[in-house]
């Protein structure tokens, strides 16, 4: 077991969690697409008992009769999916401090997946530091590109 940390974009909601492995998955259902404004959500499934909320519990929204979604109301970061009555929950992969440790092992909710978005490796690419406008804004306000 490894203890890792994560939290929302603004740092208001921080957590630590005991991980048994680095397996994660994607959900492509319409509710998860709307919850993130994206084409899918990346989740890590863990026992509720493995999670410690270090600063405060996330804010919660009863997104459906079967589940509640945790997030930070200040910065909007989606943090959890908590099935009603379940002793497990999902943490969003992007909220971990070390997102790169995880690897996807499954796709769920595939009835609504957007097939054209699943393999984007062939598209043209651009690094943030190659975007002149965005880089100029960061340099003017932060003095550097974001971490």
């Amino acid at each position: 077991m490894t203890v890792v940390t994560g939290g929302c974009q603004c740092g208001r909601v921080r957590y630590s969690v005991e991980l048994a492995d680095d397996d994660a998955y994607l959900c492509h259902c319409r509710m998860c697409q709307r919850a993130t404004g994206g084409v899918s959500i990346a989740f890590k499934f863990v026992p509720r008992a493995a999670v410690t909320w270090l600063t405060r519990e996330p804010d919660r929204y009863a997104s459906s009769p079967i589940a509640t979604r945790g997030f930070c109301r200040e910065c909007g970061t989606p943090l959890t999916y908590e099935g009603e009555g379940s002793d497990h929950l999902d943490l969003t992969v992007g909220s971990f401090d070390d997102t790169a440790r995880f690897r996807p092992v499954e796709n769920v909710g595939v009835e609504s997946w957007h097939a054209g978005w699943l393999d984007v490796t062939g598209l043209p690419t651009q690094r943030t530091d190659q975007n002149v406008t965005i880089t100029a804004r960061w340099m003017a306000t932060l003095g550097k590109l974001p971490d």
Binding site: G7, G11, R12, R14, T55, R56, L142, D147
Partner: protein, 148 residues
């Protein structure tokens, strides 16, 4: 509106040409505990051009490989007032406890909480990071207007 502050002995006084008391953040790293002799340092970031200082200011430079930090302290009582850093040109970091209205300050973030003193309980829901925060996240918190 000017915001005023000064050192412990009163010899050094300063004003900040800003609209309101600035948001502050606390750093709990060991270096800040040593600088301050306390559990954390508390800072506000202001444009360097906004600071006007009078009195016997002494300078202490800390040079490392990648940066030079120039600390300005009262030459009489040695209270630290503010510093500039070559990594943040144009900005000054003010020791927020030296502000006259320090009791009205808000602390919007805590950083390097991994070395926080264990007795210190941080307020619930205030952003905190165990080590360095993402720079843009801290900048966003410090840029917040008061009151919300």
């Amino acid at each position: 509106m000017t915001i005023a502050g000064g050192c412990r002995c009163g010899a050094v006084r300063y004003t900040l040409a800003i609209d309101a008391l600035p948001p502050t953040y606390a750093c709990h790293c060991h270096q800040c505990q040593r600088w301050s002799g306390s559990a954390f340092s508390q800072q506000a970031i202001v444009p360097e051009a906004a600071i006007a200082v009078t009195g016997p200011v002494a300078v202490y430079e800390k040079v490392t490989e990648d940066r030079t930090s120039t600390q300005r302290v009262c030459g009489t009582c040695h209270a630290r007032i503010y510093n500039v850093n070559t990594r943040r040109p144009g900005l000054a970091v003010v020791r927020a406890g030296t502000l006259d209205r320090s009791e009205e300050l808000e602390c919007v973030a805590h950083i390097f909480t991994a070395s926080k003193q264990r007795w210190l309980a941080l307020p619930e829901g205030v952003p905190q990071w165990p080590q360095a925060p993402p720079a843009e996240a801290l900048a966003a918190l410090l840029g917040a207007k008061r009151p919300r």
